[in-house]
């Protein structure tokens, strides 16, 4: 109870600080900035306790994000790639002559795409296998060779390029011991166990680096919002 009182006191202090800044600063006269600021504060109110302002802002965010993405895809994919070429620009008519090849180049992908929607009916749901087979097949064909080049050959070549330096030595030890850790065909005992143990340390260091960067990213997001509130909304910093 005592701690809760303290928390309420701390939160009130923070709100008072914002009110003082509001009075002393030059608050924005742009209604959109005000809406963004109120939504930001509504989202952050969750840090104290779940509440109706947070729920409203969260649902609004999800709805607007989905609505925006759908409209962008509709305009750029369907209207530009299907509707316009078929009915407005008629790209399949070349020098006044109908080109079956260009016509089918629009119609067949459109029909394949429409089959994706068949999943919503029980009777015709199996039809979705056709476009999925096309997507998986074509993307696997496109991706396998360059993926080997990008992720295996280039990386291996770079690892094998050893120089007389401490960093090169650490890298070689790190790669070998980590690979040993992921070798499961023999029990990790004796020399193999000790080598795998060194591998775990390297993995832990990698996790630590990744965690450090994650903390930095989350703080950056808070800084971004704080900059918006103090500069764009309240105008207390230049």
């Amino acid at each position: 109870m005592k701690e809760r009182k303290g928390l309420i006191f701390g939160s009130v202090i923070l709100i008072v600080v914002f009110i003082i800044m509001f009075i002393k600063g030059e608050p924005s006269k742009n209604i959109m900035v005000w809406i963004a600021a109120i939504l930001t504060l509504s989202i952050y109110s969750f840090l104290y306790k779940d509440n109706v302002f947070y729920k409203f802002a969260e649902h609004l965010f999800v709805g607007v994000s989905v609505g925006y993405s759908v409209s962008v895809v509709w305009q750029n994919a369907f209207i530009r790639r299907v509707f316009d070429p078929l009915f407005i620009t008629r790209t399949y008519i070349v020098d006044g002559k109908f080109s079956l090849y260009l016509f089918l180049a629009i119609v067949i992908p459109t029909l394949l795409g429409m089959l994706m929607v068949s999943i919503f009916t029980k009777k015709h749901g199996w039809l979705i296998r056709i476009p999925i087979a096309f997507v998986v097949g074509s993307y696997a064909g496109m991706g396998i060779a360059p993926s080997f080049q990008a992720y295996i050959f280039e990386q291996t070549q770079s690892t094998l390029y050893v120089t007389l330096s401490i960093s090169s030595f650490i890298m070689i030890v790190g790669v070998i011991t980590t690979l040993v850790y992921f070798f499961f065909s023999k029990e990790h005992k004796g020399f193999l166990g000790k080598t795998a143990g060194v591998g775990i340390w390297f993995i832990m260091v990698a996790f630590g680096a990744s965690f450090g960067y994650t903390v930095m990213a989350r703080i950056s997001l808070l800084i971004g919002r704080m900059n918006f509130l103090l500069h764009d909304w309240l105008g207390v910093i230049k």
């Binding site: 104290y48 280039e154 703080i219 950056s220 800084i223 971004g224 910093i237």
Partner: protein, 288 residues
């Protein structure tokens, strides 16, 4: 000992409050902590500096959404300022639906600083097209296959800047600003298949996973998170390309102080954990 037990049971909202103050105070009372420029950031800057003015363009892909904008927007702003102030041409595109909005917002924010910059002459905004891998591959064959028009519906052939640009051979450098793994698609197709030069501007969350691509030379350079953006801002300010407000640099004091607070909390948390554990052990030994 009761103190450490209390620390272990501390309401996490105190930590939220502490972090909020750690970020808020440096904004109000800046400390001007020194900022060093790292090699990956300088390499991105040098790669753009090496592009000939009014020559082959820089292609910026804005593959991010508002959720990662605080880290990636400053990078976009800094690069646009760098290019437009030095007459380097820019192409913008998005492989992510919300990325188109980010690119447009970036242009709207920066263009008032460059009233002479013209769409189709100094920069081209291609907009968004679905089909990530296919679009990256199309760009290697002919830009017009992926983007017949720019984002405003103007055919590319009627834009002066696009007249001599067909594919990656005519693009000096790609910079992918991404809040997801789309950067790997550029590595797989644009770099591995077409041998194009690629630099990355990524969120701090994903920066650690991209360092191997710097080692291999698949990235010519990399900006990681807000720190990377601040480094780039410092580089263009030093060259005198802009005197605009440095959005990322302003936040670096808050970033450093917040990191110190988190370090302090990690140490306190560990001390409290081990102290209360040994206290419980002693109590159970005394009890038996």
């Amino acid at each position: 000992m009761r103190f450490w037990e209390k620390v272990m049971k501390l309401d996490r909202r105190w930590i939220f409050l502490l972090i909020a103050l750690a970020v808020l105070i440096p904004f109000l009372k800046p400390l001007r902590l020194p900022l060093t420029v790292t090699k990956p950031a300088r390499d991105v800057f040098d790669a753009i500096e090496n592009i000939a003015p009014e020559g082959a363009p820089l292609l910026i892909a804005t593959d991010y959404a508002p959720s990662t904008a605080p880290e990636l927007d400053p990078m976009l702003y800094a690069m646009l300022r760098h290019c437009l102030s030095t007459k380097r041409r820019v192409m913008l595109l998005a492989l992510y639906p919300q990325g188109a909005g980010m690119a447009q917002a970036g242009l709207d924010f920066i263009l008032p600083e460059f009233p002479d910059a013209k769409s189709g002459v100094d920069y081209v905004f291609l907009g968004y097209q679905p089909g990530i891998q296919a679009i990256v591959m199309y760009l290697g064959e002919d830009v017009r296959l992926a983007f017949p028009t720019d984002a405003y519906g103007i055919p590319l052939d009627s834009l002066p800047m696009m007249k001599n640009i067909r594919n990656y051979d005519d693009i000096a450098l790609i910079v992918d600003l991404a809040g997801s793994s789309i950067t790997l698609t550029w590595v797989t197709y644009a770099v591995a298949r077409y041998g194009e030069h690629l630099a990355a501007g990524v969120t701090a969350v994903s920066a650690a996973q991209y360092y191997p691509y710097l080692d291999t030379g698949q990235f010519v350079g990399m900006l990681g998170g807000l720190k990377g953006a601040a480094e780039y801002e410092k580089l263009i300010q030093e060259k005198g390309y802009t005197k605009a407000r440095e959005i990322a640099t302003i936040g670096m004091d808050a970033q450093s102080i917040a990191h110190l607070v988190i370090l302090f909390l990690i140490i306190i948390g560990n001390v409290a954990f081990f102290a209360s554990k040994s206290h419980k052990k002693k109590r159970s030994t005394a009890g038996s």
